[in-house]
């Protein structure tokens, strides 16, 4: 029997392909909860619109940010910045209307707006 360790599978890959070992950074996130819904703000410096992958699957929100590749002249003299891409997963409140989730990214800050579903108006049912 093969024991296969659980690894992060990249979206779009077939499951029988060997998944690449990828290390991700967890972005710092602020979540605001309002009556109309939630606002998620995730910090992903170095990530532009093209590098963003946002998926909703089965009540789970997956945010992935790929950094654009930097090449600076000369040698690295001092490093603090971690070069990894970002990833964070959230379980969504079932009250959220997933079809109405919007996202925008500005200066490395991703803002996701997750509105709650509008309350269904009371419906009168006619009796046959």
């Amino acid at each position: 029997m093969n024991i296969i360790p659980k690894q992060q599978n990249e979206p779009g890959r077939r499951s029988d392909e060997r998944p690449r070992q990828v290390q991700y950074l967890t972005p710092l996130v602020d979540i605001e909860s309002k009556e109309e819904g939630y606002v998620i703000r995730a910090e992903m410096p170095g990530v532009a619109k093209e590098g963003l992958e946002i998926m909703v699957d089965n009540g789970e929100l997956v945010i992935v940010g790929h950094r654009r590749n930097f090449k600076y002249p000369g040698e690295l003299a001092y490093r603090e910045i971690k070069q990894h891409d970002f990833r964070r997963v959230y379980e969504l409140d079932p009250a959220i209307d997933t079809s109405k989730i919007t996202a925008q990214i500005d200066q490395g800050l991703l803002t996701l707006t997750l509105p709650k579903a509008e309350k269904v108006k009371p419906r009168k049912i006619s009796v046959e």
Binding site: D30, P73, G74, Q107
Partner: protein
Amino acid sequence: MNIIRYRYPQSDFSFAFDSLASMHEELDRVFESTFGSGFRPLGTLTRWTPALDVYQDKDQFTVVAEVPGMKKEEIDISLHGDTLTISGERKSHEKQGDQAFRAERFFGRFQRSLPLPSAVDTEKVKATYKDGILEVVLPKAEEAKPKQIEVSLS
């Protein structure tokens, strides 16, 4: 035979940053032993300390800082002698009545100062802010660039 002359004896950038790097290492070690790895150094727990990288080649220094979610007008860059200071203030989005479900991001003032090991041409310093990354390019002053001196046979 070529002789290369530098302005300062410590042309090696790592010397200037050894103190910063060793401070980080020391703090990491202290915190690893008490709290386990992955814990941030004390100053960064309560204060915003943007991460930065420094690159250098013979013509310039490039300082890269991660400061996402700001407007370029909110970032200040100043040069005093050979010390570069990057600072700014980020205001919070919170208004009255909003509930913060989770708050991890830092707000308020930040400041990072960097002593540079050689002189820079202050007039030619350029900075760009893109995707939350601030890039400051500091061309070295002419006297600070490595020069080749030809030895002639007399």
